[in-house]
């Protein structure tokens, strides 16, 4: 099995492979942020911190415990989720903007702490050993990415996901309907952090080297841009946005220094002209049904209330 997969990987041009893997990792990360920001409506600007936690946890698990890689991914995700829930418990009582700043502050604190700890090798960063598994990395990444997409799709339509959307659309009304908003927020934060941790673990083992400075504010903005481009709360949109923005730097090598400039302009442009993203508010199941001539159900309401 592993042998055959190795052969398949060897057939692909390594440069293309790298882009494809980067897209897979970006999808997992952006989906995590989408759970927190797109579905629950809680803006987190510290997503890279949980990626960082997952990446370092994964590296340490690999060097100290030498677990098989599948377990390693799961554990790093759980570590990130646990920290996410722990930090979420106090700060998720804050609303919108305060929360955004607190997550940002938390991310900076994580970065500074990792830069000063011996176990994370301070500012030198860690070299990550190759993953302990017969299955090559690209298959792992895409396997996890597809699992993540399915998971978020099902979650979004579950009772839990509906509660999260209710919180996004109107917190006070949701609370009046008997939704325990603090608990649901913490849970959504934990789920999002879990995905971020998993993404961090994949990143660490694919790049083989991690440094606390790689997971700064700009990384969080990267992930945020992916989600905004595709559309807040839209899963297909997130996959699309992550694919475009993860591949873009490769195709835009000649303008690499303008990348952040374009991102910044993109964020403003999207918010002014297409606030729901390129695919926000587009319901794919309905499009498919309609193409078969079925009557669509009532369209999802995308109009948001302003507080």
């Amino acid at each position: 099995m592993g042998e055959a997969l190795q052969h398949i990987v060897a057939l692909v041009d390594p440069y293309i492979l790298q882009i494809v893997v980067n897209i897979g990792i970006a999808i997992v990360l952006a989906l995590g942020l989408n759970v927190i920001t797109g579905i629950t409506g809680q803006l987190s600007l510290g997503h890279a911190a949980f990626m960082s936690i997952g990446a370092f946890a994964s590296a340490l698990i690999a060097t100290k415990l030498a677990l098989p890689y599948g377990l390693n991914i799961l554990c790093s995700g759980l570590v990130a989720a646990a920290i996410g829930a722990a930090i979420g418990y106090p700060i998720l009582r804050l609303t919108g903007d305060y929360l955004a700043i607190c997550t940002l502050g938390f991310a900076e604190i994580v970065k500074v702490v990792f830069l000063n700890l011996d176990v994370t090798n301070k500012a030198l960063g860690l070299t990550v050993p190759p993953p302990k598994s017969v299955i090559p990395m690209p298959f792992y990444v895409w396997g996890v990415a597809i699992l993540a997409i399915m998971f978020v799709c099902f979650m979004k339509e579950s009772r839990f996901g509906r509660a999260l959307k209710a919180i996004r659309d109107d917190e006070i009304a949701a609370e009046a309907m008997g939704i325990n908003i603090t608990r649901y927020k913490i849970q959504s934060f934990a789920v999002g952090s879990f995905l971020a941790g998993v993404g961090g673990s994949l990143y660490a083992h694919f790049i083989n080297y991690i440094n606390p400075s790689d997971f700064g504010f700009l990384k969080s903005v990267d992930i945020l841009s992916m989600m905004v481009l595709g559309g807040l709360g839209s899963i297909a949109g997130t996959v699309f946005g992550a694919s475009v923005l993860a591949a873009a730097p490769e195709f835009l090598r000649f303008m690499s220094q303008y990348r952040m400039l374009v991102y910044g302009g993109l964020l403003v442009f999207m918010m002014v002209f297409r606030p729901n993203g390129l695919l926000g508010g587009v319901n794919f199941t309905e499009l498919v049904l309609r193409s078969f001539g079925k009557k669509p159900k009532t369209a999802e309401i995308t109009e948001r209330h302003r507080q």
């Binding site: 305060y98 607190c102 964020l267 918010m271 606030p275």
Partner: protein, 291 residues
């Protein structure tokens, strides 16, 4: 020794307070974190530097020039990136603000390069003055003096002039203020101009103090100043001053106590702790939830 650190802390804190005022005023009026405020501060530092080194102007003239430039910049940013989003969700406006911030800092990186630049030594003559066994430099005196003067000026505008009254009315209730014949758009532009001017002055002062002006100086300073605004209670002008001074002093004392490698985390740790105890900050009002 203690007094010395206190002086250093107050000097640093007054620059934070200057930047924090812009955050707090804008937030008080349109309930938006003007994420690009840190970049306006950075632009102020660069404009001041340009005027001192290339045009060979006096530092005070340069500061005034930077303030005027940033006033225009703040108003333009509001017109392009925030005004169209006045009716959208808060999340959209905040993301747009982050976009402006990233855009401007990258633009500065491309225009000025990645290395930090310094003000020339003759920009402001620095001498040490002995004071009760501690030393205070003329630069620190300048920073504290200019900050205090600007804050008093702001307080005068907000409390004693008609425009200030309109600002307070708008921040109290946007719609009612518009019904009462206040030109709300003009007041918001004015608020952005005021806040940006203060940030620009802060930029020149910080550039002098650390003698380093770089494209990414806005992010950290902006975050700390915002922390200061939140610490004092967002929307409250005295709160922003208090929060800035507190954070500046805390940071200097933290570094003196040997946490210099954790320098940037100190402000955030304080912010998170305060918000947990008192979510509206030290001087903030209780927010009523409306459906």
């Amino acid at each position: 020794m203690l007094l010395q650190q206190l002086i250093n802390g107050i000097a640093l804190g007054s620059t934070y307070a200057l930047i924090a005022l812009g955050y707090t005023m804008v937030y008080g009026i349109i309930a938006l974190i003007n994420f690009a405020h840190g970049e306006i501060f950075m632009a102020g530092a660069f404009v001041g530097l340009f005027m001192v080194t290339i045009l060979k102007l006096n530092i005070f003239v340069a500061m005034a020039g930077a303030m005027v430039f940033c006033m225009v910049m703040g108003v333009v940013i509001e017109q392009i990136a925030y005004r169209p989003l006045r009716k959208s969700s808060r999340l959209s406006a905040l993301i747009s603000a982050i976009g402006v911030s990233i855009f401007l800092s990258t633009l500065a990186l491309m225009v000025f390069g990645a290395d930090a630049k310094g003000y020339p030594d003759n920009a402001f003559p620095v001498r040490q003055i002995k004071l009760f066994g501690a030393e205070i430099s003329t630069l620190q005196l300048l920073i504290i003096g200019v900050s205090a003067a600007l804050m008093l000026g702001l307080e005068f505008i907000v409390q004693k002039t008609k425009t200030g009254k309109a600002m307070r009315a708008t921040s109290e209730d946007y719609n009612t203020a518009a019904l009462m014949g206040i030109n709300v758009n003009r007041i918001i532009s004015f608020t952005f101009a005021l806040g940006s001017a203060l940030a620009a002055a802060g930029g020149v002062l910080v550039g002098l103090l650390f003698n380093a002006v770089s494209f990414n100086m806005g992010l950290m300073a902006g975050l700390k100043a915002f922390s200061a605004a939140v610490l004092g209670g967002i929307g409250s002008i005295p709160g922003a001053m208090l929060g800035g001074l507190l954070l500046g002093v805390a940071e200097v004392f933290g570094v003196a106590a040997g946490f210099s490698s954790y320098r940037d985390a100190i402000a955030f740790a304080i912010l998170v702790l305060v918000l947990l105890v008192k979510p509206t900050g030290l001087l903030g009002q209780k927010i009523q939830k409306k459906v």
